[in-house]
Symmetry: C2
Subunit: 290 residues, 2 copies
């Protein structure tokens, strides 16, 4: 069998982003960690890690990480049938989109995690990076809007999120007094989540506007709403996240009927074991994502 002490050192170095932190996590010295990685690389006959500029697994290292992730999931299943086996709870590493984490996610999986004593290590990533991390074995599952399964994994549709174009009444009065006319859209500031966020472009295209527009970049779901409340821009906000603000009138829908829907898919390793299957069932059964 493989030497899992070495593989665990590799996985921990990549997860923690450094030898010193990995040592702290595993209760080892930094030099013990280095020694394990060196031993692993000698057996492997090639490097498992790129050290610079940032620590990252090589393609061979990634295959090992992927394997470790799957073994950990299987160990988890085993420890449920033989509880005395488990020294400590496993943490399941999952990539997901910021808006799900900010809205329905905890409601959907909270009871499950509590019942199973499952700990989560959540990584907020856009879809391309989330799926890449999954291919690299860095995460066990990925929640995103891509329906394209990756090799060795399954993909199920969970539902969709509705995004509304919201702004404060002040903002509307100031920038859109005549509604969404072209001259206003060219100068009214927009809030965009990040360079990969195409929702505002899709919204504007749906309004027949294809020109440029000034925008803030705000990579935080809660920050996004706060910017809208402060009248700094309008933006596409998940309906689930703005219930209170819509009810109180602090944010208003600037284009009723022009909402956008984004489908959400759950990608998980085919051989992820029973815990993963039960978590998947919990997610497909949820009504938190209405």
């Amino acid at each position: 069998m493989l030497d899992y002490k070495l593989l665990e050192a590799l996985a921990t170095v990549v997860e923690c982003g450094g030898f010193e932190r990995a040592g702290a996590t595993l209760g080892l010295t930094q030099s013990a960690i280095s020694q394990r990685i060196r031993t692993l690389e000698i057996r492997l006959g090639q490097p498992a890690l790129v050290r610079s500029p940032a620590i990252k697994a090589t393609p061979a290292g990634q295959r090992l990480l992927n394997h470790v992730q799957q073994v950990k999931l299987l160990e988890r299943d085993l420890s449920q049938s033989i509880p005395s086996l488990s020294e400590s709870a496993t943490r399941l590493r999952i990539a997901l989109n910021a808006d799900s984490l900010a809205t329905w996610w905890a409601d959907a999986i909270g009871d499950f995690c509590n019942q199973e004593g499952l700990l989560l290590d959540m990584v907020v990533e856009d879809q391309d990076i989330g799926l890449r991390k999954m291919r690299e074995g860095d995460v066990a599952a990925c929640l995103c809007s891509s329906a394209q399964p990756i090799a060795g994994a399954r993909c199920v549709r969970l539902g969709e999120m509705t995004y509304l174009p919201l702004a404060s009444p002040d903002y509307v009065e100031r920038y859109l007094p005549e509604g969404l006319v072209e001259s206003a859209l060219r100068t009214a500031p927009v809030i965009v989540f990040g360079p990969d966020d195409q929702l505002q472009h899709r919204f504007l295209a749906g309004c027949g506007y294809h020109g440029s527009f000034p925008h803030h970049l705000c990579p935080s779901s809660e920050g996004f709403i706060k910017l809208a409340l402060a009248g700094m821009g309008y933006g596409m906000v998940p309906e689930l996240q703005a219930q209170d603000e819509l009810k109180s009138g602090k944010l208003i829908n600037i284009a009723p009927g022009k909402e956008l829907r984004v489908e959400l898919y759950w990608h998980f390793w085919r051989h992820g074991g029973d815990t993963m299957n039960r978590l998947t069932r919990t997610l497909t059964d949820t009504d938190s994502l209405a």
Copy 2:
């Protein structure tokens, strides 16, 4: 003078993380961007970019980026005295901590940005990375808890955030029926923002507990509260962010008197120009961060 078309190409490639996206942003083909970078590197006599594994400025490239960032700020001041000069609004790139963005930030700077027509490009980073990005010229300012000024920059104290140890009543009943006793702290799940988040460790040390504890990792301010509401763990939440949940009793303070305070400092380039000085004054005058 330097050829700013080349420098702008460099800055855009680093900001967008790729040649193709930089081209889309500047309205150029990918090959035109590559040509500009090549020309710049020939003049520079050394590489300005590392291409692999991810695009990143070399130390020489970083000095150029730093320069571009400062020139942009100065151009902004100029365009305010000669409005016809400005083709498009500048976007000021700022690194800040997630909790500020999720709470008081927009309130503090919203009016200022609206009055000045200032657009922001916000980057959520922990303190070490935020300050590194500033040294590298990738951001013009950084909001974090480090009081140590970096060379060429100023640092002013803005105030402090108070963090409370919060959990749902369900959670307390389930995991902490006898309060914060050692046997409970060893098994009660904690919510931790990320590997760099030491708040829960500090809190537990303040309670006299120094052992290990099971924890979820949740790098999202809003997700953090949602996990706490779902009874998945307790965690240190900014008081500013949990007003409603505390009032309604959905979250409770599990250790009154054990709150933690985190100081916040604003780092900005000394020669950042008038806009930066006015933004700094707005921040030092704010009462949003009480």
